[in-house]
C-alpha cells in the first residue's frame, strides 16, 4: 500500500504515569491516502521496531469505530479533523502532503497517561458501576409486548446508548468534563421502563462518582457534542441536570 504522502509527526512520548513526557518528531514517507490513521502509525512503529526503537504505544481494538478504544488528539481535536468518526476510521486522505501532524493523548486529571498515547479510562467504568445498571431477574426474558415503549423514547434511548465511552468528550472539553458521557449513560436508562427501579438514585450516585474521579464542570460550550464520534446530543446533559435535581429535591 505505497502512497505519496510525506508527513512530519510530532508525537507525545511518555514512558509511564510517573515520568514527564515530551514530543518526539518523526518523518514518515510513502503513506497511502487509503490508509487509516492507525495504519499510518503502524507503518511508523514497524520502522521503529526494525531500528530497535520503542514503538509508539496507542490504544486500539476493533478498528471499525465501535469499540471506543482509540483515543488520539490530532492537531488540536479528539479523533482528528473529521466529524463523526473515531481515529481508526480517519483516513490519510484527510491530510495533505508535507503536513505536520501533532498527536497527543487525551489530557485530563481523571485520565492519567499509562504510556505515550494510552490513557487510563477506568474512571468511566467506576461511574458506570456507581449507578449505570438495571436490576433484572435471571431466567427467561419476558414477552417483549408486556413492556410497551413509545418509538420516540426507544429511539432517544438508543441514540444515547450509541456512546462508546471513548472519552473524546472529556478530551474536547476545556474543563475535562465527563458530562456528555455520564449523561448519555443516565439517559439510556432513564428513558426506558427497565431503568425506572433505580432511577431516583442513579443520577445522584453517578454524578457523585464523576466528581470524585476529578472531571470538571460543564461550561455548555458544546465542544463535546461537536467532537463526539457518535453524535451524542447535549440534550442528554440537560436531562441529567433534571434527573439529578429532581432526585436531590424529592428523594427521601
Amino acid at each position: 500500500m505505497e502512497g505519496n504522502l510525506n508527513l512530519t509527526l510530532k508525537i507525545w512520548r511518555q514512558k509511564n504515569a510517573q515520568t514527564a513526557g515530551k514530543f518526539e518528531t518523526y518523518q514518515v514517507s510513502g503513506i497511502s491516502e487509503d490508509m487509516s490513521f492507525l495504519e499510518m502509525i503502524d507503518v511508523l512503529n514497524n520502522r521503529l521496531i526494525e531500528e530497535g526503537d520503542d514503538p509508539v504505544a496507542f490504544d486500539h481494538d476493533c478498528r471499525e469505530g465501535i469499540c471506543g478504544m482509540c483515543s488520539m488528539y490530532i492537531n488540536g481535536r479528539p479523533h482528528g479533523p473529521n466529524k463523526g468518526v473515531t481515529t481508526c476510521q480517519l483516513h490519510m486522505r484527510s491530510f495533505s502532503n508535507g503536513q505536520t501532524i501533532t498527536i497527543e493523548p487525551w489530557r485530563a486529571e481523571a485520565f492519567p497517561v499509562i504510556k505515550d498515547l494510552v490513557v487510563n479510562r477506568s474512571a468511566f467504568d467506576r461511574i458506570i458501576s456507581a449507578g449505570g445498571f438495571i436490576s433484572v431477574n435471571t431466567g427467561n426474558a419476558q414477552d417483549a409486548n408486556s413492556l410497551p415503549i413509545p418509538k420516540d423514547d426507544a429511539d432517544e434511548a438508543f441514540a444515547a446508548a450509541a456512546c462508546i465511552g471513548c472519552g473524546a468528550c472529556v478530551a474536547a472539553c476545556k474543563n475535562a468534563s465527563a458530562m456528555l458521557f455520564t449523561s448519555a449513560k443516565i439517559s439510556q436508562l432513564a428513558l426506558l421502563p427497565q431503568g425506572q427501579a433505580e432511577r431516583s438514585k442513579r443520577a445522584e450516585a453517578m454524578v457523585a462518582q464523576m466528581d470524585e474521579e476529578g472531571f470538571g464542570a460543564c461550561s455548555n460550550t458544546g465542544a463535546c457534542e461537536a467532537e463526539c464520534p457518535k453524535g451524542i446530543s447535549i440534550e442528554n446533559i440537560a436531562r441529567m441536570n433534571r434527573e439529578y435535581f429532581s432526585s436531590v429535591f424529592t428523594s427521601k
Partner: protein, 222 residues
C-alpha cells in the same frame, strides 16, 4: 440540610447556582436598560430623573438593591470557584488546540469576559452608584442626568464603557442560553426560541447601553 449543601457543591450544583443568579442578573439588566433608555426621549432627562428618583426612594427597590448585590456576589464567587476547580482538571495542557472547530470563543471565555465585566462594573459603580447613593453631590441643579453628561465628556471613559458593553454582549450571548441548559431546560419545542431570544436580548442590551455614553459624548441627545 447537608443534602442541599452537598448537591450545591457538586459540579451540577455549582452550575445551577450560576444559572439562577445569572438569570436574576438578566432580569435586572432589563429594568436598568429600560429606565436608562428614557434618555433617548430627548426631554432633557426629565423622565430619566423621575425614574431615578422613584428607584432611589421606593423601599421595595431599595430592598431589591441588597438582593441584587447578593446575587451579583454569588455569581462572581461561584464563577471564581468553578474557574479554579475546572483549571485543575487538565494539569498538562495540550500543545495544539483547535477550539474554533468545535465551539464559540466566547463560550470558552466566560471567566475572562466576566472579569472584564467586573473591572468595568467597579468603574461604573464609582461613577454613578457611589455618586448618587454615598455622596451629597446630587441636587435639583445637578441631577443624575447632568452627571452622565459630565462623566461622558471624557473619550477614555466612553471607550471603557463601549468595551464594557461589548464584553457584556458576548457574556450574555452565551450566558443566557447556557443558563437554561444548566437548569435542564433543553427541549426541541423551546430551545430554538431560547437561543433566538437570548441572542436578541444580548445584542439589544449591549447596543442600547453602548449607545448611551456615545450619545452623550457627541451631544446627540438633548
Amino acid at each position: 440540610m447537608a443534602w442541599l449543601s452537598k448537591s450545591l457543591n457538586s459540579s451540577l450544583g455549582k452550575k445551577l447556582l450560576m444559572a439562577i443568579t445569572g438569570l436574576f442578573l438578566v432580569s435586572f439588566l432589563i429594568v436598568h436598560c429600560g429606565l436608562n433608555a428614557t434618555i433617548f426621549l430627548n426631554d432633557g432627562g426629565v423622565t430619566f430623573n423621575e425614574g431615578a428618583e422613584f428607584m432611589a426612594k421606593n423601599p421595595i427597590i431599595r430592598t431589591m438593591e441588597i438582593v441584587l448585590f447578593g446575587g451579583l456576589l454569588l455569581h462572581i464567587l461561584d464563577g471564581l470557584r468553578l474557574w479554579m476547580d475546572n483549571k485543575k482538571k487538565r494539569p498538562v495542557a495540550y500543545a495544539v488546540i483547535d477550539g474554533a472547530a468545535n465551539s464559540k470563543w466566547y463560550s470558552r471565555s466566560m471567566g475572562l469576559l466576566g472579569t472584564l465585566l467586573l473591572l468595568f462594573l467597579i468603574i461604573h459603580l464609582k461613577h454613578f452608584w457611589y455618586f448618587s447613593r454615598l455622596t451629597d453631590n446630587l441636587t435639583e441643579e445637578h441631577t443624575l442626568y447632568n452627571e452622565m453628561q459630565v462623566v461622558f465628556q471624557s473619550p477614555i471613559v466612553v471607550a471603557i464603557y463601549v468595551l464594557g458593553c461589548i464584553s457584556l454582549g458576548y457574556h450574555l450571548l452565551h450566558g443566557f442560553q447556557s443558563a437554561f441548559q444548566s437548569l435542564g431546560w433543553n427541549h426541541p419545542k423551546y430551545t430554538p426560541a431560547i437561543k433566538s431570544i437570548g441572542a436578541a436580548y444580548a445584542i439589544i442590551i449591549a447596543a442600547l447601553f453602548a449607545a448611551m455614553p456615545i450619545a452623550f459624548h457627541f451631544n446627540l441627545i438633548h
